[in-house]
């Protein structure tokens, strides 16, 4: 089971708690994780990555295991600690305007 932390606005939109759990086929990658997240919470489609290009929205970042994974290939395997559920995959809004 993969753990995903969502920012507050997306939590509210998904009507979920701060952390959601999803099943992802191995090897666990960003693309597979986000596909599974959007399949379980279809209202999140278009809010984390663009509908057409599937690129990460520019004001969002992906963190895990104290690393910034925002610029990793969407098809690169995520860290073992994320794939095993030990550490969450974090979707976070960039600090802007404050």
């Amino acid at each position: 089971m993969i753990r995903v932390l969502l920012p507050a606005h997306l939590r509210n939109l998904a009507q979920a708690g701060p952390e959601v759990e999803i099943d992802v086929e191995e090897p666990v990658t960003q693309r597979r994780l986000l596909d599974a997240l959007e399949a379980k919470y279809p209202m999140l489609r278009g809010t984390i990555r663009d509908h057409g290009t599937l690129k990460r929205r520019s004001f969002l970042r992906f963190f895990a295991c104290a690393e910034d994974l925002s610029h990793e290939s969407p098809d690169a395997p995520l860290p073992d600690a994320v794939a095993s559920g030990k550490e969450p995959f974090i979707v976070i809004g960039a600090i802007a305007g404050g």
Binding site: G46, D50, H51
Partner: protein, 371 residues
């Protein structure tokens, strides 16, 4: 007993304000979608319980929300707005080509005949339609494909399609307006479009009378006279009596002819309202006095309406979609400000009172008259 429901979109959520026909005491519901920019919230004229809302964020993009119970509960519907084909380019602020990019939905216009059909005006300017209650959206590409498209350029607020007017007497006729391209009309339900800007004069473009390039802020129409249009342009208040084929200025004695909103009395097609705003760089009321101006003669002769409105130290703006009217016998007029006030008049503008004073900046105001 009649009721009135005022739908308010703000920078940080949506609010639903309700009152009985007296319009003296109001219930305030919200914020709905707290923290999100709510560009527009509008109810279906076919089913007053069906309401559509445009919800967006610089972080999370665009969502469309739909209510089937008058705004008590909401569900997200489709948010995929894909341009038809290869979008190409329009002009950037400096005149260089710039790719067409979807940014947000500015305006939602529910169909006059079908609660599941709704039109959307978006930035970068394009015209979309859903026929399944907002689940799926298709561009009507002939507008953007109009030959002038590559010459359109953004206004200060972006290149937005902000006004959609459906002609109740002619299902094929739709008017739209874009900042800063101008006004356009289709007579065949969106298959073809023509610019309707003859008579507009804009000194901020190289050819002041060009076919396109005018910064139209808003257009209003009375449903009983769909060929008569009233326009608040960047500067100039204009009128057309031939469905936009030609325009003439009706600014008359206004203290400034800049502004954003314009609307028409529900029962008097020659009674119109504007809120003059000092421009070009200040965007607040002249002399710190918030005044609605009313013309009972279809323009040119205007009277200031001040009773109940702040007449000193007021420096708010009233944005283009932030005025609406109800259709009760004594017509109610409503507008919202960037200072978070929503003012209402239950006597056609003679006197005003705030329904709420401290909302986030108001982006849009719409009214439903519930029988």
């Amino acid at each position: 007993m009649s009721k009135v429901r005022v739908l308010v979109g703000t920078r940080k959520g949506a609010f639903v304000l309700t009152s009985d026909g007296k319009r003296e005491k109001w219930d305030v519901s919200g914020p709905h979608f707290a923290g999100w920019e709510m560009y527009h919230v509008k109810g279906s004229p076919v089913d007053s319980n069906r309401i559509y809302a445009s919800q967006c964020s610089g972080w999370f993009g665009q969502l469309i929300q739909r209510s089937n119970d008058g705004g008590n509960t909401w569900e997200p519907v489709g948010n995929k707005f894909a341009y038809d084909g290869v979008p190409g380019t329009h002009q950037w602020y400096d005149g260089t080509p710039h790719p067409w990019e979807f940014k947000r939905v500015w305006h939602l216009e529910p169909s006059l005949t079908d609660a599941d059909t709704v039109y959307a005006g978006i930035e970068d300017a394009a015209f979309f339609r859903s026929t399944d209650g907002g689940q799926n959206w298709q561009e009507l590409p002939a507008l953007r494909g109009h030959g002038s498209g590559p010459h359109w350029q953004p206004g200060a607020g972006g290149m937005c399609l902000h006004t959609i007017i459906l002609d109740p007497s002619n299902p094929g006729r739709i008017y739209i307006a874009i900042s800063a391209a101008g006004a356009f009309r289709t007579d065949d339900a969106g298959k073809t479009w023509r610019p309707i800007n003859r008579g507009l004069h804009s000194q901020y473009i190289p050819d002041p009378t060009a076919e396109v390039g005018h910064c139209v802020h808003h257009v209003a129409m009375h449903p009983s006279r769909p060929g008569v249009l009233f326009m608040q342009k960047h500067w100039d208040v204009m009128r057309s009596d031939d469905a936009g084929d030609s325009w003439r200025e009706i600014s008359g004695n206004l203290p400034t002819d800049f502004g954003f909103v314009i609307d028409v009395h529900a029962h008097e097609p020659e009674t119109i309202y504007v809120v003059p705003i000092k421009s070009d760089s200040e965007h607040f009321p002249p002399d710190g006095k918030l005044r609605v101006y009313r013309s009972r003669t279809g323009g040119n002769e205007w009277e200031a309406l001040t009773k109940g409105l702040p007449q000193s130290d007021c420096y708010v703006n009233v944005l283009r979609d932030a005025m609406a009217v109800d259709s009760l016998d004594n017509c109610g007029i409503y507008f919202g400000t960037t200072g978070g006030q929503v003012y209402a008049s239950a006597d056609a503008g003679d006197g005003w009172a705030p329904i709420v004073r401290d909302l986030p900046a108001v982006l849009s105001v719409e009214v439903q008259t519930l029988k």
